[in-house]
Amino acid sequence: MNELLDVKELCVEYRTSRATIRAVKDVSFSLAKGSTLGLVGESGSGKSTLGHAIVRLVSPPGVIVRGRVSFDGIDLLSIDEDGMRKIRGKRIAMVFQDPMSSLSPVKKVGQHFVEYIREHEPSTSEAEALQRAKATFEDLGIDRSRVDDYPHQFSGGMRQRVMIGLAIALQPELIIADEPTTALDVVVEAQILELLKDLKRKYSLSMILITHNMGVVAETTDRIAVMYAGKLMEVAGTRKLFADPKNPYTRALLQSIPNILLDDQELRSIPGSPPDLANPPTGCPFHPRCPHVFDRCRVEEPKLKKVDGETETACHLFG
């Protein structure tokens, strides 16, 4: 396997005077070159923190406590900030949920591209950078002339296209997209997901797609990592995860989601709610809600391990 990214036992904590919240707990996974990994979880599961930690963008009071993030053989957690800047944006780019807060309202959209490109490649001239912006606009399905427009002249979906354009402008190898379609209506969401798939093919990108939407990961990813309370509960190939989920949390989640293609579907709701991370349960974080809970689950935290082919799961039911 040709791994582009390898994360080992990564731990991130938010430390305040009142409590220490373990937002990412001993997370290990890898991403093969050219593939898309879906990182799914509910709000507060730590999926977004994990995405940010990979490029060392955890903001205080968040701290990367330990672990290893190896990208194309480079240990990202040990290089200096200068070295990191050469990778962030240039080789690993991020796309966030809210495009408006990332674009300056007083700058033409093309100017955002020019500044971004020249920041990372100072030798590129303004004219050249603007040409590249226009070429990127074609990839995005936006008229080239609109580089002269301001962000407010774009609709929500167009702005998200622009953000994706900025992310690919420096031809990165990996894109981390954090809920890129959550704020969008369903038709625009479908357009953006199609765009991401097209760009991925065209430029052989690898991608981590962070989302709470099981439908989105089903349609766009090769593998899925399921997160709950800071912990990876299950990692498996996308088809395998849906066909044969091992972890009780994954199983419960899949049974609780309405599917538009099914008639007279019976939903099974999961009792209780996700844990408060300032005061997490002992043992397995899902044990208070788990239908298969037994004594060991209350005291010992299960570790992620291979249970069936490529499927890894963290559950005491599997030894």
């Binding site: 209506d185 349609e219 066909a243 989640l253 008639d263 709701s269 009792p271």
Partner: protein, 332 residues
């Protein structure tokens, strides 16, 4: 006789303009949030209003419970003409109809014990005394699964999970024993693993209390799961309405077809051809001429840009399935 009857309902909001613009033109411009909507809901039914943001579904919901005055048109609930009620009549009527909002945190006063908040709502709308109110709140908490009710009663919103807060909001809406409830995206802001719980509570309350719901959602899968009839809205108009089985079985409007194709399906073995329309919902201040969907529609012809299609029956075997498209026969 239907329980809720809405006839040619319109709501135009005037657009705020700058002073110079106001001086230069005397004509007011309007956002036509709801622009001629007609439907009825039978007692005990769940009717879904489905659409993207800006479609007018929330405005329609608010108009039906008298939170907004319509520009024109009629809303009749249980024989009462809602827009004609004065303030006092509306207050008395309000215990019979309730609205559940999307964001449970914004709907609850952070400085008030949730039990007291619900009791207050009850006392405001009925003549229940403090003791009776508390008793009924505790009963209602049990009913919607907020247990142990006595303990939850004296908690503050910050000490409840998102799902519990939404249950409190549901309890507050139902404690006055309303006949009609507008639920405006009640699960949109609830955690994924808690959504099914909330949908179940709503379904159960509907069955046990014989409620009539107007269920507003952007989520077609949720609408299919919960509703018996739905309407697809776009720029203030109904594009298609009918039984859930009919619309999901054979959608007759190109926009409905596009919406259904766009919904991501949680099943990786499903491979569907996605015909996603270009562009986004245009501005409601200047909606397109003719059919409002025509600039994005793959089937649009000249007539579509000229003439606005009206809701009509296309499949003769399905009397309640109506569609507003000049070319709907094509899809039979």
């Amino acid at each position: 006789m239907p329980f809720l009857e809405v006839v040619d309902l319109k709501k135009y909001f005037p657009v705020q303009k700058g002073m110079v613009e106001q001086l230069l033109s005397r004509k007011l411009t309007y956002v036509k949030a709801v622009d001629g909507v007609t439907f009825s809901v039978d007692k005990g039914d769940i009717f879904g209003l489905v659409g993207e943001s800006g479609s007018g579904k929330t405005t329609t919901g608010r108009l039906t419970v008298g939170l907004l005055k319509p520009t024109s048109g009629r809303v009749i609930i249980g024989g009462v003409d809602v827009p004609s009620l004065n303030k006092e009549e509306l207050r008395r009527f309000r215990r019979r109809m309730q609205i559940i909002f999307q964001d449970p945190t914004a709907s609850l006063n952070p400085k008030m014990k949730v039990g007291d908040a619900v009791a207050d709502a009850l006392r405001l709308l009925t003549d229940a005394d403090a003791e009776t109110a508390k008793k009924r709140v505790l009963e209602m908490f049990e009913y919607v699964g907020l247990t142990p009710a006595g303990e939850i009663y004296s908690r503050y919103p910050r000490n409840l999970s998102g799902g519990q807060k939404q249950r409190v909001v549901i309890a507050r809406a139902l404690v006055t024993r309303p006949e009609y409830v507008v639920a405006d995206e009640p699960v949109a802001m609830v955690d994924v693993s808690v959504r099914a719980q909330i949908l179940d509570v709503m379904k159960e309350m509907h069955e046990r209390l014989g409620l009539t719901y107007l269920f507003i959602t952007h989520d077609l899968a949720v609408a299919k799961y919960l509703c018996s009839r739905i309407a697809i809205m776009y720029l203030g108009r109904f594009f298609e309405t009918g039984n859930v089985e009919d619309i999901f079985g054979l959608p007759l409007h190109p926009y409905t077809q596009a919406l259904l194709a766009a919904v991501p399906v949680p099943d990786p073995t499903v491979r569907r051809e996605k015909k996603i329309p270009r562009g986004e919902i245009p501005n409601a201040i200047n909606p397109p001429s003719g059919c409002r969907f025509h600039p994005r529609c793959p089937y649009a012809t000249e007539i579509c840009s000229r003439e606005e299609p009206q809701l009509r029956q296309v499949d003769t075997s399905k009397a309640s399935h109506l569609v507003a498209c000049h070319w709907a026969e094509k899809f039979l």
